[in-house]
């Protein structure tokens, strides 16, 4: 099905698409560029694009002054911890719904999804209160649990759609060969499920990393992740563009890289299978 397209048209498409792509990407590019300027250069009039004295100073300053590493650690622990916890709870549930479906499977899936629709602000105070009483306020454990709960529906859902693609005949064949439930899970299902599990983990680490309602409202100094660290720049002192840029670049770089690997999963994970 070769679509015959003139070279002229292809050149036009290419130019237009690149122009728009760069325009959309520009704020990120500008942030990265600014992070290598001095504060004076960052607010130079006219703006400096590439010809300035590149410096790594801001990265050092951000690290020294604000203990960036601690925020980074909090982000890493909370994002990865909540995802792993969620996946551990979700795997058996998704497995059973995909391979032993019952009449209620669809209702349960939809109900799980509906908990995701609950507006966070509607339950802000109860959670705040519970956190105070359970001494979870400003703790990594508390945030890990909350982020696990808000992402659990997506995790179950994604795993379910991946598991459903594993052909049932393979399981039956394994059963015929006398494989028990344990063998079935360990030697037949797991190898086939790993790519789907990996994709699910990837997308949910990204979602947890960027979550910015609970992380802002339930942390103070101790457990604050990068989202809250960056928010502290909303009331700055003196010149701070270059430092803000350096901090921002460090906060988004790991996720941008992971994100580029997860484009396909993004559609599956966020539309719940409604768009293929």
């Amino acid at each position: 099905m070769a679509r015959s397209v003139t070279t002229q048209r292809k050149v036009f498409n290419t130019l237009l698409a690149w122009l728009i792509g760069l325009l959309i990407f520009f704020p990120i590019l500008w942030t990265i560029l600014t992070s290598f300027k001095t504060e004076a250069q960052a607010i130079n009039d006219p703006p400096l694009f590439l010809f300035f004295d590149w410096t790594l100073e801001n990265y050092a300053v951000v690290q020294d002054r604000s203990n960036y590493t601690r925020y980074l650690w909090n982000s890493v622990i909370i994002a990865i911890g909540s995802t792993i916890l969620g996946v551990l709870i979700a795997i058996p549930a998704a497995w059973s719904m995909a391979f032993i479906p019952s009449r209620r499977t669809k209702d349960i899936l939809l109900w799980m999804l509906s908990t995701k629709m609950l507006p966070a602000v509607g339950v802000l105070y109860p959670i705040y209160l519970l956190f105070i009483q359970l001494k979870l306020l400003d703790s990594r454990l508390g945030l890990t649990i909350i982020l696990m709960l808000i992402n659990l529906p997506i995790i179950v859902w994604m795993l379910y759609t991946y598991f459903r693609e594993i052909p049932g005949e393979i399981l039956e064949a394994a059963r015929m060969d006398g494989a028990g439930l344990k063998d079935e899970i360990l030697h037949v299902l797991t190898p086939m499920a790993i790519p789907g599990i990996a994709s699910t983990v990837l997308l949910n680490v990204i979602l947890a990393w960027n979550e910015a309602f609970w992380t802002l409202n339930l942390t103070a100094a101790k457990a604050a992740p990068l989202t809250a660290f960056i928010a502290s720049y909303s009331s700055p002192e003196g010149l701070f563009y270059a430092k803000l840029s350096a901090a921002s670049t460090m906060a988004i770089a790991p996720i941008l890289i992971l994100g580029w690997f997860s484009q396909k999963q993004l559609v599956r994970g966020l539309t719940f299978g409604a768009v293929k």
Partner: protein, 288 residues
């Protein structure tokens, strides 16, 4: 061919996920409902007894309520129009043959992975600042007076920032949907001499309708509760206090928990109305 044995195994396997989600849903929800019928001011006397539907009527009749509904509708509506229209156009473009398609896709999707506090602050300071922002330089370059974005065009600014974050999502989903279009149908129409606009309205757009509905519903649910973008830019001033932000202020800033909880119940009802439509579409796709 599921046996009785495997049925109970299935129930056991589902139990942890069902139980934690049930707890996550019921416990805070019950508490919010409970508080919403109380006069409850933790810093000024604590629990001052039952008040019936007083909080519900007071939340609605307060002078901040209608403006917050208006701000919410303008932001959600504005972002939806921009992201869906531009998303369809961009998806159509990205579907065309070109060089470096993969790289362009990556560039377009990138904003979705930027955390909300970063995009809020980067736009606020480095683009929308009336003195040092890039947009101010651009305006001056063309001889215009720079705009004080976040104070004089505050809603538009929030819409711009949020659209920038969500356009990638709309584009990616619509692109996925376009790519599943039956090419032969499109080619047949082309051979029969249907002009591009006709092909778009009669073949592509109907094919995209479900994806567009999904984009609208999912974005609405997320946009109804945007928080960080407003928190780091205007903190709710200059007419950008959305319903979510108003409830947040009632609960955590002025610690009027009863009133805020009544607002929370309204927000939950509103989100559920949207969610019902989304569930229908998702439910249908489960059957196929």
């Amino acid at each position: 061919m599921a046996t009785h044995h495997s049925r109970s195994a299935a129930r056991m396997m589902m139990a942890p996920a069902v139980i934690v989600l049930l707890g996550w849903m019921l416990i805070p929800l019950t508490m919010t409902l409970y508080f919403s019928f109380k006069k409850y001011l933790p810093l000024r006397g604590g629990d001052l007894g039952w008040t019936g539907f007083d909080n519900y009527t007071r939340f609605i009749s307060s002078s901040a309520f209608l403006p917050s509904v208006q701000a919410t509708l303008i932001i959600v509506g504005g972002v939806l129009v921009i992201t869906v229209v531009l998303g369809v156009l961009l998806a159509l473009l990205l579907d065309q043959p070109m060089w470096g398609q993969g790289i362009v896709r990556v560039l377009v999707i990138a904003p979705f992975f930027v955390m909300p506090t970063v995009s809020g602050l980067v736009w606020k300071n480095m683009f929308m600042d009336p003195v040092n922002g890039l947009l101010a330089h651009l305006w001056k370059f063309f001889g215009a007076t720079p705009v004080e974005w976040l104070s004089h065009a505050s809603l538009q600014s929030i819409i711009m920032i949020t659209s920038w974050q969500w356009l990638p999502f709309a584009t990616l989903i619509l692109l996925t949907a376009i790519q599943s279009l039956d090419r032969e149908q499109l080619e047949a129409a082309e051979m029969d001499g249907a002009p591009p606009l006709k092909r778009f309205t009669y073949i592509i757009l109907p094919h995209l309708s479900r994806a567009i509905a999904v984009v609208i519903l999912i974005q609405t649910i997320f946009l109804l509760s945007i928080f960080a973008e407003i928190f780091v830019t205007t903190a709710g001033s200059f007419g950008t206090r959305t319903l979510t932000y108003l409830i947040y202020q009632r609960v955590l800033e002025s610690q009027n928990v009863g009133l805020g909880s009544a607002g929370g119940v309204y927000a939950i009802i509103l989100a559920n109305i949207v969610a019902i439509f989304l569930m229908r579409i998702v439910g249908k796709s489960l059957d196929t």
